[in-house]
Symmetry: D2
Subunit: 353 residues, 4 copies
């Protein structure tokens, strides 16, 4: 560990639209922690939202905050009690460190732990920094076959996997996925991993629909010009889909997702609409005995994700459309915010590419 710096370059959100570079002390590694040289960090919609608005719902940025929670890197130090991780390991970081002792943790639903320390959610600092420390049990060794970018993408991929598991998708299923942002695209990969035989996707951007088809979607609907319900009807011989996933976060896509379902179907809601209330047709839900499942983050997905991505079946690297060094974190956030060049995922490299 002799070559570690005393200070760490860090990009800090001071207030909305203001990111400054700071030198912060190298994190002190506790007995169960590992220190990670951060190699790739994806920019998430929530990072952009904090950057722009300084808060998300009840989470308010009240003091300077380091953003970034989709990350991977190399292990450069380990605590005394660390057992499964060693120096030099290439690792993916699961950003939410849970208490392990509450009812939710004990029941296997640790994504609902009330005491979770989640990177880049105030007041917990994130990964737009050269080094971060993290508790060993939320750090996962990745094989050589996986790049750091792919490892960083495990975080949004996990949302899709968690949704598939909660929805209990089975091989041969028909699936509709609304919204082809990064989470939607990785939900396509998740659906494919679960053996879905028809994956019908919808979005307003052609570039996203094309990416979806490359990742395994079987039918793409340009919702600006097509009637999504009609199209889904056509692609399923009038039957509707077994499962729908809403990742777009708008009421119209939610309505489409609900109406796309077969009787007895399941709708998983991933996206957060801006509206305070979204009108839903309750008789449709009751008469068709629909299940609607809220999806919050994920639990127990990282090992699965690593195995799936290591198979080499999915070229998720195509999501990385924009690349920035740490010093240009603000530019990365602006790129994601304004999305002038039709970005999919913007990636920041705190220690060079």
């Amino acid at each position: 560990m002799s070559n570690l710096p005393s200070f760490v370059e860090t990009a800090v959100l001071q207030k909305p639209f203001e990111i400054t570079m700071e030198k912060r002390a190298l994190p002190v590694v506790g007995p169960n922690d590992v220190l990670i040289k951060v190699m790739a960090v994806g920019v998430c919609g929530s990072d952009v939202h904090y950057y722009e608005h300084g808060k998300i719902g009840r989470y308010v940025v009240e003091k300077p905050l380091v953003l970034g929670h989709e990350c991977a890197g190399e292990v450069v130090a380990v605590g005394d009690k660390v057992k499964n991780i060693k120096l030099g390991d290439r690792v993916a970081i699961e950003p939410g460190v849970t208490c392990g002792t509450c009812d939710m943790c004990k029941a296997g639903r640790y994504n609902l732990c009330p005491d979770v320390q989640f990177m880049a959610t105030p007041p917990v600092d994130g990964a737009f920094a050269q080094y971060v420390k993290h508790r060993e049990d939320f750090v996962y060794v990745i094989p050589d076959e996986l790049s750091y970018e792919e490892a960083a993408l495990i975080e949004p991929f996990s949302v899709g996997l968690h949704a598939m598991k909660r929805a209990n998708v089975q091989p041969g299923a028909t699936v509709a996925i609304m919204g082809m942002g990064p989470v939607g695209l990785l939900t396509v990969v998740a659906a494919k991993s679960y053996g879905a035989s028809k994956i019908i996707v919808g979005d307003v951007e052609d570039v996203r629909l094309e990416a979806a088809l490359k990742l395994g979607a079987t039918h793409a609907i340009q919702v600006k010009s097509e009637d999504a319900i009609q199209a889904i009807g056509k692609y399923t011989n009038g039957a509707g889909v077994d499962f729908a996933f809403e990742t777009a976060g708008n009421g119209s896509a939610l309505k489409t997702s609900l109406n796309a379902l077969k009787r007895g179907g399941t709708l998983a809601v991933i996206g957060l609409p801006q509206e305070s209330a979204t009108p839903l047709n309750i008789p449709t839900i009751v008469d068709n005995e629909v299940n609607i499942l809220g999806i919050f983050r994920y639990a127990n997905t990282y090992e699965t994700a690593i195995r799936i991505l290591t198979s080499g079946q999915f070229n998720i690297g195509l999501l990385v459309t924009d690349q920035y060094p740490l010093a240009e974190t603000k530019e990365a956030l602006e790129q994601a915010r304004t999305n002038k060049s039709k970005s999919l995922k913007v990636m920041v490299y705190p220690n060079g590419q």
Copy 2:
């Protein structure tokens, strides 16, 4: 079978608000059918709705229809191939006869069978008649301990049991149930059967809340004078409930049900609101990872219901507040419709009490 009449007194809905008594030919019993002397028929909200409006959603009464589908009676004739039912058996009737060959039937979700023949749903006649025939496999022998009224109540009780099973309620669970009409009251019995340790109910009618407490509810909320969410908070030490059941069919109760839940909780929607769309807060559903389950009728509940009610633990007979002979079916429907005397369940007796 020598004593059977050639003609059967039948109460027929001719058009909204018009019920006439007709003599109809005794039903011809097919090889798999049994003929049942109807002893008790409950009046359901759907009967009242057809009586008043001539339709429910896409189901329209286009020719004279016999209403009534919550029924029980005595077997007076059996078809050639009937194996498990014999003359003289006292039986409960499950009103929906399914195809047994479609995907839904084969998957064990026969309540979603598209070809179901459901009593008192146009164009299938119901049970406001002295005799009805029914396919053997939807007829269940009841023990002497059960009265015909209790056997007729198995139908609405089944809705509650189906909801409990779909929601996967476990012993010790905390439950809120909104709406204490007959389905709500029998959902209390279902929750108790599933071992719920706290059953908090809400309604606007004191008489219904009192009935709920007699059937096993642990806390009653008079929603005209109390804030239901506050009360549920108080009764659960601020935790919220594990499960909520909406049986009232209105948007306000639905909102209460959703907000009453613990993180990770489940809401089962049984009631059908009049509104074409009910506004729901999607971030609440996503952040709390709520499950919302539509409940449509029931499947595989009758044997369970008979076992539970035979235990003698529950005095569901208290639901029967109003009693009419077949000739006064119109009066029975009017009583249920106007509910002047705070009825719970109105019962019709086609062959005398």
Copy 3:
């Protein structure tokens, strides 16, 4: 239907080891039946067992019986009430026709229907015949991409799919499968369809292990020369597998399957050992909280199987190693029985190849 013959060539088991060709009357098609020109029939281990011993357990061949139940063909006549199948359709046949009215059928576990009429199980005739009739709802249209041989293989494939579903295999899982006969090989395909990332197989025949690797197995154990438990340990970094499937039908493979499991793992038992009782270590089952699941046939698998096989991912045609015309059904059974040339699946073509 004018071109249909009055008589049908049929291979009939008269007594053990005696198969004769008979001309039988063309089956009379009932209102819900379809008549199928049989194009391919796989020889199953149970066919061989009836051929050799005249019985399997409590099922005894007491009068001449037509064997063969893994079959596919072309629809040449349909009954009056048939709705979803039409003349000329290429179809796979699910051989067990269930009652649709018993508790098991209604609960979605129709494979346990006590009144099932299962082809080639005494006294129900099977498919070694030019034409067979079958109830519409157990006949499935296949797309052009599927050959009749592949469609016939859906039957044994279904066993593997049913086992995966019951075991609740998830993407990324590690799986061991003992026994690489046709059912074992198709269980490899099923495991792959469910997203298993490691599929470790064991058998005594190299030709079968090679086929397994071609179908998606990741590691093959030649159990004559290797210690299976050691090998599984090596291939899973000492962890053991999440799921094990025993298809070989012998006690030694069963013991291996049980000991191959991780703590909390699941063992699905498909094979039927000859021994009257197999010794199992109960403390292993209890301390490791193992689930052991008996697998009997399948339910609700055909549509899924068709979708999976239509994807073109799996070359299951490689299982068909031996081909016979109907007139040589005895030779086909002998080939499967003696297996001199290391057959995988022996196929009979009642109407030519």
Copy 4:
């Protein structure tokens, strides 16, 4: 905390059959621990086994060990970070403290945690002592309605609850339970809590069968004089039971449990037989599509158990047949070992009754 003693009376197993009283230092309470004045400790079969043999399977008593893990008491000190427990609380102790960070803990199956510290399992000391410390999250406040004895019995009761949950017992189910030792008796209570309508029990001791009937069993089989399978057939009208629970730990009871099942039924194995291997009929398991579930301890049962027992429905206090002060721990173990007076549960009171 000023009144706490510096030394704690403790009963220590020195070697088989040798228990000595020692004064040990009062445990030092860590930040997340509570210190508990032990009021009641049940003697478990495993305590007796260590006392008699000095080991159970791979767990060997290599240095002096304090036995006792079914316990309850009063909180007399709390660590700095303790949040939910306070001085004076009456509490039940869940004896296994898990790591909270391994795969099994994170998946909600913490009973399979490889790093669990389980009281009275070498080398972790148990509760035959005046005071013990325990991590807060495995300590549960009990209401006044529960006695310390009842709270101590939550531990064996938890095994039954865990078995019910894993087996997915539903209201109205028929259940057979073999073995009416304390775990078997509390499994009766668990089955009743899950709404089982028929609970058929078997044992060789009349006193145990009588206790079972008092706790909710509906039928008792004296297996010395009755054929258990015949009796179960009679009590289920020939149908067999939906669920069987083996708690006796012998091969004969296991065989009975398996053969008592309906087709599609589930057998939960709780008892550990002495035999190294128990012969099971595999064709029975496969043809009947039976599930066999190993049951190892429990997870997430304590809150549920407290709610169930607080309802006052079950008089589990009748299990406590023998009572000893701490100084007579050896006598308590001898009583349980030799069981001369037909004990059910022997209880030790480290701080007087």
